[in-house]
């Protein structure tokens, strides 16, 4: 039953990707990824309330290679969604609509989210190794 006249998203088969559309798509994708990550946040809080054996079990999974890979992915998704979200808030406030500015802010988001993810993990690894 298709009964509304809501506008359709661009037909992806005939749409040439550009930085702007790819970043827009990634905002959604990272939002969905972070929604899945939020289940881990709740699992963590529940495990913490259950006691040390449940908490240790969760942490030993998160410290495995699979766990670390998932956490790294979520770190990047978080920084990307955060940086691009701030870009969206600037647009909502009426700033940054010139094509040149849109591309510049887009590349800034890419650079910032990559470097913030790397920096976070370097600090994390340093702290885990006993440095801090």
């Amino acid at each position: 039953m298709k009964d509304d006249n809501a506008p359709l998203s661009p037909a992806l088969q005939i749409y040439r990707p550009q930085l702007t559309s790819v970043l827009s798509f990634m905002h959604r994708l990272t939002g969905i990824a972070l929604s899945l990550g939020s289940l881990l946040l709740i699992t963590w809080l529940v495990a913490g309330s259950m006691g040390s054996s449940a908490y240790d079990m969760l942490l030993s999974f998160l410290r495995s290679w699979t766990g670390l890979l998932l956490l790294f992915g979520w770190t990047f998704a978080l920084f990307y969604h955060l940086c691009n979200g701030i870009r969206h808030l600037c647009w909502d406030a009426g700033y940054g609509f010139e094509l040149k500015t849109i591309y510049a802010s887009g590349w800034m988001v890419v650079a910032a989210s990559l470097s913030l993810s790397m920096a976070t993990w370097l600090i994390g690894i340093y702290a885990m190794a006993g440095g801090a």
Binding site: G31, L45, S49, L78, L89, G124, A127
Partner: protein, 127 residues
């Protein structure tokens, strides 16, 4: 208007058109987004500090009043923002009305349950 009907013209017109809540979704999504900027940074910084710790460290950390308040705020703002965002994704990509409404209600119900689960767990940990 139908001359056969006993309903008044006003009662037939009422409820048509905008539900007058169109901007509430948009604004709530932005306000929760702004709230989540400092909360997300605080949360990541806390995780870095807790990464090496054990369960006792976790309890100590969550029992600090500031951390309790911020964690409760994070859980509420996060799942509110998430419900609104996922709702828009469903509205864009699910094209049949019954499924769209079902998915939307399921998302909001699921997020509400996750908030309650999170807050109850926080309460049980700190008491």
């Amino acid at each position: 208007m139908n001359d056969q009907s006993l309903r008044s013209a006003l009662s037939q017109a009422r409820g048509l058109g905008s539900a007058k809540g169109g901007s509430a979704h948009w604004w709530t999504q932005r306000v929760t987004a702004v709230a989540l900027i400092p909360l997300a940074i605080w949360f990541l910084a806390s995780l870095l500090a807790l990464g090496r710790g054990n369960h006792a460290d976790f309890v100590d950390w969550l029992q600090s009043p500031l951390n309790t308040i911020l964690m409760v705020s994070l859980v509420i703002a996060l799942f509110w923002h998430m419900a609104l965002g996922l709702q828009v994704v469903v509205e864009d990509y699910v094209h049949t009305r019954p499924l769209k409404i079902f998915a939307s209600v399921a998302i909001h119900t699921g997020c509400a349950l996750l908030v309650v689960t999170g807050l109850v767990s926080i309460a049980r940990t700190i008491t």
